[in-house]
């Protein structure tokens, strides 16, 4: 199904933000905003929910801690009670102090890398992927708002044009996408 997309380009983050506010209050659904840097306060306006990556990081960290604990318990207590200076490791509890540094490091290792990999996969940003922004200037100093007509049944194209007219955009581009 073909769809018409409107790209409204702005030269300033605050202008885009007030324009987005105006559109949303008129019932327009803004599909996407592309910007060279995070625009603070845009997420609630266009309805972007907070990410749950933080929870993922915690779970990855927990996995790391568990793995480190099981590993060290097995290596140092079960498989071979290494005798160091006449002090073999008879139980995990007796030696837990010596295991804290590695447990901590491994927790951080798993949490950081697990989260980073999840982040890249979620964003679909991987080595060699083609650029996904609609205009090369959006990584420099331009801010683009993307409105899809298929997502705006209640608002006609003419109405959208009228709403956008005085918002102070620098360029307006319309594209038919398949």
């Amino acid at each position: 199904m073909s769809d018409k997309v409107i790209y409204a380009m702005y030269g300033d983050d605050d202008v885009l933000k007030s324009s987005a506010k105006k559109l949303v209050s008129n019932g327009v659904k803004i599909s996407e905003v592309y910007s060279p840097f995070p625009i603070h306060g845009i997420d609630p306006i266009i309805g972007v929910k907070g990410t749950r990556l933080g929870i993922m990081a915690f779970l990855y960290g927990l996995t790391g801690l568990t793995l480190a604990t099981i590993g060290m318990y097995y290596f140092m207590v079960v498989e071979w009670k290494m005798n160091i200076g006449g002090k073999p490791n008879f139980s995990y509890a007796e030696n837990v102090l010596a295991f804290i540094p590695v447990s901590f490091e491994f927790t951080v290792l798993c949490a950081a890398h697990g989260m980073a990999i999840t982040y890249l996969l979620l964003n679909r940003t991987l080595p060699g992927m083609p650029a996904q922004n609609p205009d090369p200037r959006t990584t420099d100093d331009k801010f683009v708002m993307e409105i899809r007509l298929s997502e705006n049944h209640g608002v006609t194209e003419d109405k959208l044009d009228e709403l956008l007219k005085d918002t102070g955009f620098v360029e307006l581009d319309k594209k038919i996408i398949e």
């Binding site: 910007s35 060279p36 840097f37 160091i84 590695v102 290792l109 982040y119 890249l120 996904q132 100093d141």
Partner: protein
């Protein structure tokens, strides 16, 4: 948009727009490298290659080519290791701890400070590896099943903790740095004209889009990574200090080591950042972004951590007497008055006296003076490790075993070689990577840019 007090100095000088920020950072990458870059690169490469050659000779012959003897079994190798790891602490501290404290001035310096961190940790990692002598069995430090030929590694040993600490630190810093680099690579990608450059930066930028949702994730990932990296920074140098503190050698067996090492690491790391950035800002025309105020902030950090280090030296000295342990007391007396007195007093002068000069506002805002002190501090911090390591072991319990350490030319070549390699990496970074977190700098432009702060509606807007 965040406002700040009018009396606060702006962090970005002049009348800059978003586009100017992009231009200023990308121009040195897109243009031709200045002649000076080639000269410096050639010098660094020659020194680095000499170091690599010396390492190969060392591996082929054995670590007997170092100036070690039966009494002094650890000298320049571990000194250089701790020195480099220490330097490698500033970058993550700047980007992680200062992010948690919402210090906006970090944005101009975090990228290059973190690059410095990563390269410094590379250099640090070289020393324990070559110190093994048989590098090809280096993988034995990993927990591998017993049928590989030895027992499981010893998780009770601080040396193994160090393996985990350094490798975690290196890889997490690398990831943190790269996540921040992706949007900036995208900026270069979208500006690139030459096909090869376009291709390279497309690969490096991972297809970054700049969608609102992606920026939302980006900010959270940065925050969580900062939260993870902050205790990591402190743990790494604490664990490095455990290599010594958990031993029974007088002069090493000290509970004050972890905080004292961490403070020392931040102290030397910031000094190295100053050395590099003072040159870089000039060479790459970034004076509007990294200016006197940034240098002053860093000098304050140097002053504070230098004072902690100084306090630790004096505490150590007092405790060695107060403990009543004669071996302990002798170790410190010998440091100050024995055959290595010159190393001890160089350390004291460089690390205790010189940072105190930063109390004077005029001096801490002087770029030339800062550059001078930053080098003095780095020399002092090298001596600190040398003093701790060599003077504590050179007079063994039995006077018949007393000895002195004289570095061989391989000792010197390997050390100087790592400095060369470090600069090879750093110069390549400065040539091909965005040296400023340019997209992050844009977020503070309206809040801390000079032209915005001085405009009449800055304080009655909204």
């Amino acid at each position: 948009m965040q406002k700040e007090a009018a009396i606060r100095e702006p962090l970005i000088l002049g009348n800059k727009t978003y586009h100017d920020v992009t231009e200023d950072v990308c121009r040195p990458i897109e243009g031709k490298a200045p002649k000076m870059w080639y000269i410096l690169f050639a010098i660094a490469l020659i020194i680095g290659l000499y170091g690599v050659g010396s390492i190969l000779y060392l591996l082929g012959t054995g670590i007997g080519v170092w100036g070690l003897n039966k009494t002094i079994g650890w000298a320049w190798d571990i000194t250089n290791f701790v020195w480099w790891v220490g330097i490698g602490h500033a970058g993550t501290l700047i980007s992680a701890v200062l992010l948690l404290f919402r210090q906006k001035w970090r944005m101009a310096i975090n990228r290059s400070a973190e690059a410095m961190t990563i390269f410094a940790v590379f250099m640090a990692g070289t020393f324990p590896l070559i110190h093994m002598g048989r590098l090809w069995v280096g993988y034995w430090v990993l927990p591998l099943p017993n049928h590989f030929g030895s027992l499981w590694v010893n998780f009770n040993s601080p040396l193994l903790w160090d393996v985990f600490a350094i490798s975690t630190y290196l890889s997490v810093s690398l990831v943190f740095w790269y996540i921040g680099l992706i949007p900036d690579f995208a900026t270069i990608r979208d500006r690139a004209k030459k096909p090869v450059a376009k291709r390279m930066y497309t690969i490096l930028s991972f297809g970054w889009s700049g969608r609102a949702k992606h920026w939302n994730r980006f900010e959270l990932v940065s925050l969580v990574l900062a939260g993870l990296a902050t205790p990591l920074v402190f743990s790494v140098h604490s664990i490095v200090s455990f290599d010594f503190a958990t031993s029974v050698i007088p002069g090493w067996h000290t509970t004050i080591f972890p905080p004292y090492f961490v403070a020392g690491a931040v102290f030397s790391g910031f000094a190295m950042v100053q050395t590099l950035l003072l040159v870089m800002r000039k060479a790459m025309n970034l004076e509007a972004y990294i200016h006197t105020k940034h240098v002053e902030y860093m000098n304050i950090v140097i002053m504070v951590t230098g004072s902690i280090v100084g306090t630790a030296y004096i505490t150590e000295l007092f405790i060695s007497w107060y403990s009543g342990v004669e071996y302990e007391a002798y170790a410190f007396l010998n440091r100050a008055t024995g055959p290595y007195w010159w190393a001890y007093w160089s350390m004291m002068t460089c690390n205790v006296i010189s940072p105190q000069l930063m109390w004077i506002r005029k001096l801490r805002r002087s770029l030339l003076f800062t550059f001078f002190i930053s080098i003095v501090v780095n020399i002092g911090m090298w001596f600190e490790r040398y003093v701790i390591i060599v003077t504590s072991i050179h007079r063994d319990y039995i006077p018949a075993a007393w000895s002195m350490h004289y570095p061989s030319h391989i000792d010197i070549a390997v050390y100087v070689g790592t400095i060369g390699l470090f600069f090879v990496f750093f110069l390549l970074f400065a040539r091909y990577f965005p040296v400023l977190a340019l997209n992050e700098v844009k977020t503070i432009l309206k809040g801390s840019g000079q032209s915005y702060k001085e405009s009449p509606d800055y304080h009655n807007h909204h």
